[in-house]
Amino acid sequence: MASGVKPRVKVPKTAAAGDVVTIKTLISHKMESGQRKNKDGSPIPRSIINRFTCDFNGENVIDVTLEPSISTNPYFQFEAKVPASGDFTFTWYDDDGEVYKTSKSIAVA
């Protein structure tokens, strides 16, 4: 599923140095589990996002391994330390080899 995949990320625009911020991410993806069958009874092949990572200025925040039991449109909420201004990079890895990337910057006041 390479079409219609849209990552959405919510990161605060500013933070104080050393703050812990909450990040919410959502990506539209049907996460076909490989368990469902179509009308003529043949199984629909698995097609999911199998890995999600978030980095801040090149350092890892969270690295999640996803399995077919994750819901459609995978949603994650987690917390990150912000020692200085910089960029969060979010990466999703699809089963079909596609990689979806987005980034958000945060300014330390």
Partner: protein, 140 residues
Amino acid sequence: MQFTRRDALIMGLGAAAASVLPIQAFAAASAEEELAQFTGGAAVGEGGLTLTAPEIAENGNTVPISVDAPGAVSIMVIASKNPSPKVATFNFGPMAGSQSASTRIRLAGTQDLVAVAKMSDGSFVQASQAVKVTIGGCGG
């Protein structure tokens, strides 16, 4: 050879049992295997890990869960009655603000959800929570 009604019934029962048993045995072993693979056979303790999930989930397609284990390196979530029991593994990096995360998962039916955390000192803790599912979320 002639089939009597009794023979036919016994054969039917045997066939039904044979078709059901391997599937259940496979699923159960698989959940334990995943656990053993994650812990490397180490003893799993209690405490220090919070798994939050609803007691009753009306729709098994999206069940909100969250895990929280201060000092953990990674947390794995297992749903033993799902067709593939492993749900997700969270690995926390140096920039993680807390060792907690929330997501939404699929549950095939009413079952115990289990989370296992690997702590930074190499020990393992687990927490479980029973979730009642009204409508299963894995197709079929």
